[in-house]
């Protein structure tokens, strides 16, 4: 720690930080643009000027950019010396000479860092009287809107997009006061993380196109903390609603999970909630004509009377929903809604994490690892934000080089210069090329069986006591040997695998590699990806697989938030469903399963319900209802409780909190999740936390066409938040942060004020609770020793290919995401394509486990012989895709 003086007051600060970070952490408002806690400093905007003094006797001092000065022992600065104050206001004035000042029509208005900094710096009247430069804007795809005239040239966008996220199709062009940030030509921004530009850009150059079409201001949104539902990473979000539709998803800072960022699926996938495929009415026997809630329930009561019920929950539904359903139908009759295979895979992964002796990391811990070995996953497409973290992790080992040269890491450009392109080891074994390959030191492409074997070879070279699979080529062993030595050469290796190549041996091999490293004394981490936002929660809750539960004889089937046709082949599901008298489906969007329902009950999405998801790390995280929908939509768990009441078996639990509590009482493994958020009666200064800002507008007018009398605000019985602007607006407990705001800070950058130290943990701790910790003692090596993959004569073995846009169920229904989804496809290498006599881009018929699908042919030569990559999760694609035959 270093002692420094800011404005005459002494502070103890981390000397590895710069003076801007130190000043902000100390609570001083120093304006800035180009600096960003995750991107470091470059000193270009000159906005963060302060006066630095040589010593106590120096009364004049000199102007320095606080972001470019280390917070070294004895530093004395003033943030409010007139010289600094005046200069900062002049910098804004200069920036404004070319800014169009179009705040009234700019989507950033009201949460614009430039607006904030302008006010903060005190600049008011502009002396510039000449013309402004103008630029042409570009089409950047369905997610991001481009308005270059608003640019203040802070270089954050390119630094984030290129240096941080590894994208290469955004850059800065030209020079002097004509510098231009964009693509070489109009076109879709290719990075899976492009949406963060919206938050990284301090003004309105890059804005959320999906928000733009609604014209909504930040202060007019009703917002609540949420958890992304589009993969197993569980990024924290803030979701905003107005006029009954979701308007945007913003990142919610959680140091342990997603930090400042989100992936594009998480940010733009929300539009499925506004889709015309939403179920908002009760449907009985295929019709909603004349069906009311009462008539639907009458029907259900009759249908259920004296009948045996099976309940199928879902890995995309909350813990509470699954639990409530389980309570309704009884443990014996409950399924978590996964196919046997998927259930086994997920269970194996979870058990390994629980019984092994290797800790599974949070994303923050991932970012601290030094070498990475990925087995069987295209993480960018299956757990996108994990991939972004891995990109950061492999920079760690090289940082020592900068350290040695005395270059602090926040000093971004010089640190980069001395590190050059070097990065720590990243090795990937996968069925085919993946999006992280650009920074991989080695890749090994083969069938899942061989990836598992490859993993065991690596494990053997780490710990020679482990067996070495036989029949290996020299090339494979030398590759594996290199990986083993790379992993052993770092203190913190990370092994990543997951369920997505649908092979248990891959998971086992990954575990053996990790355990071997642990035995070798390494501070190793093991990370498994899962398919859905609550796969881990559902499996922890325990229940049967689909195949198992369908063995039970019953007349009525209740399916909650699950499209069974995504789990098993059409043929199987058709035959299962045909055995029931009644199929009651609770869901929020039309699916193949709702088509088969005799009754459909509308329920809320994750923004219309409170709930808990457990992410891949085993971290239970709470999400909250954002708004109360006008239609008949209510939470799934509440709907299930209604059914219970209707059939005269009412539950004791009334509100969300009650369900969570009894979930914990009945399932010890969830102990603690009841404390994820304060109880509903929690109050600060006698008030609930407000979901709306004090500036929320139009409240009395927005429903005046229906009734001029303002309705009484709806009470939230489930959480400690109010649905309106009534309530507490200061800093809420971290699990209840509805939006980031601090006096003078209206943009996302207000986050600074919520952190103990800039870029660090939130005051009050980061929300979430880890449910899975390794047992230190009774771990074992799997050593499952699978046979090598053999190309079978004419047939092809299917391997699922995941796409960030297209493979996940809900986001694929979102309007903007849909624009990025390709047709269903089959991936073949040229040799196999020639053998099957098909050409690139041709649309062909294939049979997947006997079911016909029409797909487009894509040629990719890194795919191993005898494999067919199939677009996983795409509409019309059979989820069981082991046997593939090309029909033409």
């Amino acid at each position: 720690m270093a002692k420094i003086k800011i404005n005459g007051k002494e502070f103890e600060v981390d000397p590895k930080k710069n003076l801007l970070e130190a000043s902000i952490s100390a609570g001083y408002d120093v304006p800035y643009f180009c600096w960003h806690p995750k991107l470091g400093s470059i000193g270009s905007c000159r906005q963060c000027a302060v006066v630095k003094y040589r010593d106590e006797n120096d009364t004049v001092g000199r102007l320095v950019m606080s972001c470019m000065e280390p917070a070294s022992e004895g530093s004395i600065i003033s943030t409010d010396a007139s010289q600094a104050v005046e200069f900062r206001s002049n910098v804004i004035e200069a920036l404004m000479t070319n800014h169009p000042h179009d705040c009234p029509v700019c989507d950033e208005g009201g949460e614009c860092h430039l607006q904030d900094m302008t006010v903060m710096s005190g600049h008011q009247t502009r002396r510039y009287e000449f013309g402004k430069r103008t630029h042409k804007n570009q089409y950047l795809g369905p997610f991001i809107n481009h308005e270059m005239n608003r640019c203040i040239q802070c270089y954050r966008c390119v630094r984030y997009y290129r240096d941080y996220a590894g994208g290469d199709d955004l850059n800065v062009f030209s020079s002097r006061n004509r510098v231009y940030f964009g693509r070489a030509n109009d076109g879709v921004l290719e990075s899976e993380f492009s949406g963060n530009l919206v938050e990284v850009c301090p003004t309105g150059v890059f804005t959320d196109k999906t928000l733009k079409k609604h014209h909504t201001r930040k202060w007019d949104l009703t917002t609540a903390p949420s958890i992304c539902t589009h993969c197993s990473v569980g990024c924290n979000t803030i979701v905003g609603e107005r006029y009954g539709t979701i308007r945007r998803v913003y990142s919610r800072y959680n140091e342990q999970v997603n930090g400042y960022f989100l992936c594009d699926r998480g940010r733009f996938g929300y539009e499925f909630m506004n889709s015309d495929k939403r179920i908002k009415k009760f449907v009985v026997n295929g019709s909603f004509d004349g069906v009311t809630k009462e008539s639907a329930f009458d029907f259900i009561v009759k249908a259920l009377k004296g009948k045996k019920i099976i309940g199928i929950g879902s890995p995309r539904a909350s813990l509470e929903t699954n639990f409530t359903l389980k309570q309704l139908v009884g443990n014996e009759n409950f399924s978590v809604g996964l196919s046997h295979k998927d259930y086994q895979l997920a269970k194996l992964a979870i058990d390994t994490l629980k019984n092994g002796n290797v800790r599974t990391p949070s994303l923050k811990e991932v970012e601290q690892c030094e070498s990475v070995f990925v087995l069987g996953e295209d993480i960018t497409n299956t757990a996108p934000m994990l991939a972004l973290s891995i990109r950061q992790a492999i920079k760690n080992i090289t940082k020592t080089k900068a350290d040695k040269a005395g270059i602090p890491l926040w000093n971004d450009a010089p640190a980069r210069e001395i590190i050059q392109d070097a990065h720590g080891p990243l090795h990937i074994a996968a069925p085919m090329a993946s999006r992280l390959d650009d920074v991989a030191n080695s890749t090994y492409f083969s069938a899942p069986e061989n990836i598992a074997r490859f993993g065991y070879v690596v494990a053997h070279f780490i710990d020679s006591k482990l067996s070495l699979p036989s029949g290996l080529t020299e090339e494979v062993t030398s590759k594996a040997r290199k990986i083993a030595s790379d992993l052993l050469s770092t203190a913190k290796p990370l092994i990543v695998s997951g369920v997505h190549c649908k092979n248990e041996d891959v998971l086992k091999a990954a575990s053996d590699v990790a355990q071997a490293l642990k035995t070798a004394g390494k501070d190793v981490r093991l990370s498994y990806t899962f398919e859905e936002s609550n796969t881990v929660g559902a499996v922890l809750l325990d229940g049967k697989s689909l195949e198992e539960v369908f063995e039970t004889k019953a007349e009525v089937l209740i399916i909650v938030e699950n499209d069974l046709y995504r789990r098993l082949s059409t043929e199987k599901i058709d035959s299962y469903l045909s055995k029931f008298e009644q199929v009651i489906v609770l869901d929020h969007n039309c699916t193949s399963t709702t088509k088969k329902a005799t009754v459909i009950l509308p329920v809320g999405t994750f923004t219309e319900a409170d709930g808990t998801f457990v992410n891949m790390e085993g971290r239970a995280q709470r999400f909250y209802q954002v708004f109360v929908p006008e239609s008949d939509t209510i939470e799934s768990w509440r709907r299930i409780a209604q059914i219970a009441t209707a059939i005269d078996k009412p539950f004791d639990q009334k509100n969300f909190y009650d369900f969570t509590e009894s979930l914990v009482i009945n399932n010890a493994q969830f102990t603690g999740i009841e404390t994820l958020a304060p109880p509903p009666d929690f109050k600060v200064q006698g008030q609930k936390i407000a979901r709306e800002s004090l500036r929320y507008s139009g409240r009395t007018a927005m429903k005046a066409n229906i009734n001029v009398h303002e309705l009484k605000p709806i009470e939230d019985a489930d959480s400690a938040m109010s649905f309106t602007m009534e309530g507490y607006h200061g800093q809420a407990p971290t699990s209840l942060i509805t939006s980031y705001w601090a006096p003078g800070w209206n943009s996302a950058q207000a986050i600074n004020k919520y952190q103990i130290e800039v870029g660090g943990a939130l005051h009050g701790g980061d929300p979430g609770l880890r449910l899975i910790e390794p047992s230190k003692t009774n771990f074992k090596f799997y050593q499952s020793n699978p046979d090598a993959f053999k190309v079978s004569g004419s047939g092809l073995k299917g391997v699922p290919v995941y796409k960030i846009f297209g493979s996940e169920e809900l986001s694929s229904k979102a309007a903007a995401v849909k624009e990025r989804v390709s047709e269903s496809f089959i991936l073949l290498n040229s040799k196999d394509a020639a053998k099957a006599d098909v050409k690139a881009d041709e649309t062909i018929e294939i049979s997947l486990n006997g079911q016909l699908s029409s797909v487009k042919v894509l040629i990719q030569d890194d795919l191993a012989d005898g494999l067919a990559g199939i677009s996983a999760g795409y509409c019309g694609i059979n989820p069981e895709m082991t046997d593939v035959t090309i029909k033409k």
Binding site: C45, R46, A94, T97, Q153, R176, N177, E417
Partner: protein, 423 residues
């Protein structure tokens, strides 16, 4: 009087190639340096009081001494800065075109001193002839064994390449130059770290001006004392190539000792003003130095004296303003240049220079108001030293702030008469 730098340069400017160069004693210093300890060379150069001729005037030996001499590096680099885009500066061209081997010799010795194994001669793209000459000279030097592996069987290796630039004044700024050499946009880099520690490709690097490097062989051959003795000013070793452009009788370049007076330069060497014209002022060392006027004619041309007079020696090539040329127009021309050449990285320069240019244009067009002068004054402070990322913008403000001081009436005249009376 000795003129080590230009003694070989022919009156017609035709280049001197290796045979002749060697016959005139060329490459002797390399032989000597190869036998010296690197530290010895650096120490000698430090003592010689050779100061960087690129404009900043930093002690060259001292700069070299910051290069780490212990530890393993992939490479160490030496770069000759021949960007020479500072308006009014044309001295390095003379040296490369007239005596290319002098530069190469100086670079080999410098490489010995810092133990560099790779070098680049960075020349602006418009110097097409210079590039041809250097290319030929480099080939000759390789051929003769002065460059490449195991130079003169000493075991020392040094490869030297030519890089011709593709334009932009900012490439002359040493860190921007390094970015440009790396094939990147020529934005300057943050200092610290200084290039001596982390320069080209993150390796220790020395960037020196062409003229600076051309002095090295002579210091090695003749010693520090001799070098100090060349100058009339204690503390500034050696000679300097001075020059003059503008409406003087004999514009040109002259190698003279430090400490000659401005008057001598103007009246004796440049032949005084053209007939019918009066001296109004001059920028003593290129476009980014402050105006000196009549009252300064007797100051000595050395770093300290010119600084004491409120300007900078800069590159030592002066631009003379006569009484028939509009000073506002001249400053406008300068600021136009700087605004065009801003790299666009930092705010004050990127936005402030075009703004400044527009105000000056307004005044020159007869539309100016008195408050515009305050605004110009403001800009000179706003873009002052320390406020911008690199020295381009502060340099740009030098002629403006001094013009506002010395030629204020001329600005006011434009405003009062609503026109430029020089047109």
């Amino acid at each position: 009087m000795e003129r080590p730098l230009t003694k070989n340069i022919r009156p017609d400017g035709k280049p001197l190639f290796i045979k002749e160069y060697e016959s005139l004693g060329g490459y002797q210093s390399v032989k000597k340096a190869l036998k010296m300890q690197p530290k010895e060379i650096t120490e000698l150069v430090k003592k010689s009081n050779l100061k960087g001729r690129g404009g900043a005037g930093f002690n060259t030996g001292l700069k070299w001494s910051f290069v780490p001499m212990e530890g393993q590096f992939e490479h160490k680099y030496l770069v000759a800065n021949g960007d020479e885009m500072e308006p009014g500066t044309f001295k390095d061209r003379l040296l490369i075109e007239g005596d290319p081997h002098q530069l190469i010799e100086g670079m080999i010795v410098t490489a010995c001193a810092i133990q560099a194994d790779e070098g680049y001669i960075f020349i602006r793209g418009e110097y097409t002839e210079a590039a041809e000459i250097v290319k030929k000279a480099l080939a000759e030097a390789y051929e003769a064994g002065y460059l490449g592996k195991n130079i003169l069987k000493s075991g020392f290796n040094f490869n030297l390449h030519l890089h011709t630039s593709v334009g932009r004044y900012i490439c002359g700024e040493e860190t921007a130059l390094l970015n440009s050499l790396e094939g990147k946009r020529a934005n300057p880099r943050a200092k610290p770290p200084f290039p001596q520690v982390s320069g080209l490709f993150g390796q220790p690097t020395i960037v020196n001006n062409i003229e600076t490097l051309c002095n090295i062989p002579h210091i090695i051959n003749n010693g520090a004392e001799w070098f100090n003795g060349l100058s009339l000013t204690p503390g500034d070793g050696g000679t300097k190539i001075f020059g003059a452009s503008g409406k003087v009788k004999r514009p040109g370049l002259w190698e003279l000792p430090f400490g000659v007076t401005l008057r001598e330069l103007l009246e004796e060497h440049a032949g005084g003003m053209r007939d019918g014209l009066k001296f109004k002022g001059c920028l003593p060392g290129g476009a980014s130095t402050d105006f000196l006027v009549e009252q300064h004619l007797d100051i000595r041309m050395d770093y300290a004296s010119v600084a004491a007079a409120g300007s900078r020696l800069g590159t030592g090539t002066m631009i003379v303003l006569d009484d028939k040329t509009c000073p506002v127009g001249m400053v406008l021309n300068l600021e136009h240049f700087f605004a065009q050449e801003s790299c666009g990285f930092c705010t004050p320069c990127r936005e402030g220079l075009p703004w400044t240019e527009k105000i000056l244009q307004k005044i020159e067009n007869g539309k100016g108001e008195m408050k515009d002068l305050d605004l110009l004054q403001f800009h000179t402070k706003f873009m002052g030293p320390g406020n911008t990322f690199c020295a381009l913008a502060p340099g740009a403000m030098a002629p403006l702030q001094s013009a506002l001081k010395y030629f204020r009436e001329d600005f006011e005249l434009h405003i009062k008469e609503h026109k430029c009376s020089w047109k």
